[in-house]
Amino acid sequence: MPVATIAGAEVQVDDEGFMTEYEEWNEDIAVALAANIGIELGESHWQVIKFLREDYKEQGETPMLRRVSNVGGVPTKQLFQLFPKKPAKKMSYIAGVPKPQGCV
């Protein structure tokens, strides 16, 4: 596994650059990861990222967009505005959780 230095911390990432260790994540890392893909985190971004982290911890898998919208409380339209084009992948990248695996 490659190791990357993000926001001054050494973290393990997969071949694409997604973090692989849940516990290595922190908010400074999230800010740096977001900046990597041109996103400046605002309040709504944090709401999504925190939901993703909590839900992943509880469910053992990354929620799909529908769940982020229905359970996390951020509507689909807004998710596409906050994380343009590929919201599911981008939000999981920033939240330090695996890419979602489901179909819907």
């Binding site: 490659p2 694409e16 997604f18 990597n36 041109g38 529908r66 590929k86 992948k89 179909c103």
Partner: protein, 178 residues
Amino acid sequence: MTTPQEAPSLVPDFGDDDTDRKICFIASKGTLDMVYPSLVMANAALGEGIETHIFFTFWGMDIITKKHMDNLQFTWLGNTAMHPPGGSKIHMPQGLAGLPGMTTMATKMMKKQIADLDVPEVPEFVQMIADAGGHLWACKMSVDMMGLTKDDMIDEVADIISATDFIELSEGAQVIFT
């Protein structure tokens, strides 16, 4: 002259610059099992940042018609690949499917299986696709044939368009018939 090699940045390629991919689905069926393929794939395409259109035609009109979209049905009549749930080797008898009440029962079972996977029912799914930026189009010939108007359809339908219009708008797109 050599310069020190930079460490690979390891930022995922989200392909934001690839804006040319475009997918058009033609949704021509209105049975519950046959509406999901285009909805699932259109939703996935939108999640990948791809420009996505769905052209609803013939029986697929039910997917966007207010009166019908929440009441699509499933029958295994004519479908020999239908087995009892749980991976059984048995084929469900075709004659059984024609008995009164069997379509209602089969529909109920399929809806439960879909819900168990946390996949939405059709109205919510269509709304999700529209919210994700999907473009929904109704087929003019079907609308005329079925005596429908724009008011019979959900507001998210962009327009009623002809076959020629669809061919024009799908230029350069990958077109998938379902």
